[in-house]
C-alpha cells in the first residue's frame, strides 16, 4: 500500500497535474463557447426566418448525427487537406479540440435552449409587442432570460458530459488528463493505479462543475423559476 501511494504521488500525480491544466484549457472555453453557440442556434431555430432556421437545423443534425471522434479527426487530420481558394487551415491539437467540442456541445445546448424558449407563453411576446418593444428586444430581454433559467439544468448536464468527453482530445495528441495517464500507464505497467487516479481527477472536476452550476442556479433563481430538487 505504501509503495502504491509513493508511486501515485511521485509518478502519477505530477504528470496528471500538467494534463489537468490542458484539460481545463479545453473544457472551460469549449463549455462557454458551446453555451453561446447553443443560445444563438436555439434562438434562431425558434424565431429565425425560414433559411436561417433550415441552416441551424442542418448544423444540429450534422453534429448530433456523427460520432464526436470522427468530428475531432476531421478538425485535426482532415481539415489541413481541405483547400478553399488555395487556402487551407491547420489547427493545433488544442484548437481542434476546443472547436470540435464547442460545436458538438453547442448543437446539444441549442436543444435545451429551444425547449426553454418553447416553454414561455406566447402571451408575453404579444404584451411586449403591444408595448412597442421590437421583436429583437423582446427576445433578448423578455424571452431569453426566462428560457435560459428553464434550460439551465439541461445546459449544466451537457457541461458535465463535456468534461468527460474532453478525454477524447487525447486521440488527437493533446496531452490532457487521459493522454498523460495513458503515457504513464504504458511506461510503468501500473494500469490499475493510474486509471483509478485519472478517474478520480474527472470525478473532482465534475463535482466542482456541479457546485458552480448549482451556485449559478441559485444566483439566477427568481420566484416562479426556482429549480426544485437540485
Amino acid at each position: 500500500m505504501n509503495e502504491a501511494l509513493t508511486f501515485a504521488f511521485e509518478r502519477v500525480v505530477p504528470g496528471l497535474n500538467v494534463g489537468l491544466w490542458a484539460s481545463v484549457g479545453i473544457i472551460v472555453p469549449a463549455a462557454l463557447l458551446g453555451v453561446v453557440i447553443g443560445i444563438l442556434a436555439g434562438t434562431i431555430r425558434v424565431y429565425g426566418g425560414v433559411w436561417l432556421r433550415r441552416v441551424t437545423n442542418w448544423y444540429v443534425a450534422l453534429f448530433r448525427g456523427t460520432p464526436l471522434v470522427v468530428q475531432l479527426y476531421f478538425w485535426y487530420f482532415a481539415l489541413p487537406y481541405v483547400h478553399i481558394g488555395g487556402v487551407s487551415l491547420v489547427l493545433t491539437p488544442m484548437q481542434a479540440a476546443v472547436i470540435g467540442f464547442a460545436l458538438c456541445s453547442g448543437a446539444y445546448q441549442s436543444e435545451y435552449i429551444r425547449g426553454g424558449l418553447l416553454s414561455i407563453k406566447r402571451g408575453q411576446l404579444l404584451a411586449a409587442q403591444a408595448l412597442g418593444i421590437t421583436p429583437v428586444n423582446s427576445i433578448l430581454f423578455i424571452v431569453l432570460p426566462q428560457a435560459f433559467r428553464r434550460a439551465l439544468p439541461g445546459c449544466g448536464n451537457e457541461i458535465i458530459y463535456l468534461i468527460k468527453y474532453s478525454s477524447l482530445a487525447s486521440i488527437i495528441t493533446v496531452n490532457e488528463l487521459t493522454g498523460v495517464g495513458r503515457g504513464i500507464a504504458k511506461a510503468t505497467f501500473q494500469n490499475t493505479e493510474v486509471y483509478v487516479i485519472v478517474g478520480l481527477y474527472y470525478l473532482v472536476l465534475v463535482t466542482l462543475a456541479g457546485w458552480v452550476l448549482r451556485f449559478a442556479e441559485h444566483r439566477l433563481a427568481i420566484p416562479g423559476f426556482e429549480v426544485k430538487n437540485s
Partner: protein, 255 residues
C-alpha cells in the same frame, strides 16, 4: 372631460383566421374620454377586433385611424407610433414572469421611450401607486394574486401614456373575489377621462360606466346604443336577451 375629438376610428375591418371569417366588416368611432363596451357570446370576434385595432393581428381589409392618422400596417414606424398610443390589457395579464412588478412597468419605458433608468423607475413607482400596489413593487408575478397581476398590467400600459386603452376581458381569468379590485381600477380610469374599449361580461358594472354598448355576433356589431336604451325594461334587444342569459348563469343583474 368629454369632448368631440375622435381618438380612434375603425372602418370596415375584416379578419380571417384559420379559413374562417372572424370579423365581417366592423366599424366604430371612439371619442375622447368615452368608454365603449363590447359584449356578445364567445367567438363573436371581440378579442380579434381588439387585436386588429393595434395590429397584433393585422386586419385583412379595412382601416384603423388613430387621431385621424391612417395606420399603415406594413410600416414599422407607424406600428411603433400606434402602439405608443394604444395600451392593451389582456385576459391573462401576460406579465413578464422574470421581472418584478416595478420592472414590468419600467421595461418599455427604457426600451421604447428610451427613458433613463432612474426616471423610468420613478414613473413606474408612480403608476404602481396609482393602482394601489406601491408596496408590492419588488414582488415577482409568481408572488402576486391574479387581481394584483392585472393591476400591474394596467400600470404597465398606463406608464406609456396611451391615448386609448383596449381591455380584453380584464376580469375573466380572475377568481370572483378578486374581480372587484380590478373593476375599481377601471372605474378610476374612466373617471379620469381615459378613452377605452373594453370587451367584458361584467354587464352590471360596465352599464354604469359605458357610453355605448356594442353587441357583437358572428364578426359583426349587430346592435349598438346606450346601456339604458338596450337594457330598458321591455326592450326586446338582442343585448337584453344575452344579458338575461348571462345573469341567469352568473346571478349578476343585467343592469
Amino acid at each position: 372631460m368629454h369632448n368631440d375629438t375622435v381618438v380612434l376610428r375603425v372602418e370596415n375591418v375584416v379578419k380571417h383566421l384559420g379559413g374562417q371569417r372572424i370579423l365581417d366588416g366592423v366599424s366604430l368611432t371612439v371619442k375622447k374620454g368615452r368608454l365603449k363596451v363590447l359584449i356578445g357570446p364567445s367567438g363573436a370576434g371581440k378579442s380579434t377586433l381588439l387585436q386588429c385595432i393595434n395590429f397584433l393581428l393585422p386586419p385583412d381589409e379595412g382601416t384603423v385611424y388613430i387621431e385621424d392618422r391612417k395606420i399603415n400596417g406594413k410600416s414599422r414606424k407607424d406600428l411603433l407610433w400606434l402602439r405608443q398610443r394604444v395600451g392593451m390589457i389582456f385576459q391573462d395579464f401576460n406579465l413578464f414572469d422574470h421581472l418584478t412588478a416595478m420592472e414590468n412597468v419600467r421595461v418599455a419605458l427604457i426600451k421604447v421611450k428610451k427613458m433613463d433608468k432612474r426616471a423610468a423607475t420613478n414613473r413606474a413607482m408612480e403608476e404602481l401607486a396609482r393602482v394601489g400596489l406601491a408596496d408590492k413593487s419588488g414582488l415577482y408575478p409568481a408572488q402576486l394574486s391574479g387581481g394584483q397581476k392585472q393591476r400591474v398590467s394596467v400600470a404597465r400600459a398606463l406608464a406609456m401614456d396611451p391615448e386609448v386603452m383596449l381591455l380584453d376581458e380584464p376580469t375573466s381569468a380572475l377568481d370572483p373575489e378578486l374581480i372587484g379590485e380590478v373593476l375599481a381600477v377601471i372605474r378610476d380610469l374612466a373617471d379620469a377621462g381615459m378613452t377605452m374599449i373594453m370587451a367584458t361580461h361584467q354587464i352590471g358594472f360596465s352599464s354604469s360606466l359605458a357610453d355605448e354598448f356594442l353587441f357583437m355576433e358572428k364578426g359583426r356589431i349587430i346592435e349598438r346604443g346606450s346601456p339604458a336604451e338596450l337594457l330598458a325594461r321591455g326592450s326586446c334587444s338582442r343585448t337584453m336577451a344575452f344579458c338575461a342569459k348571462l345573469s341567469e348563469l352568473t346571478g349578476e343583474l343585467g343592469g
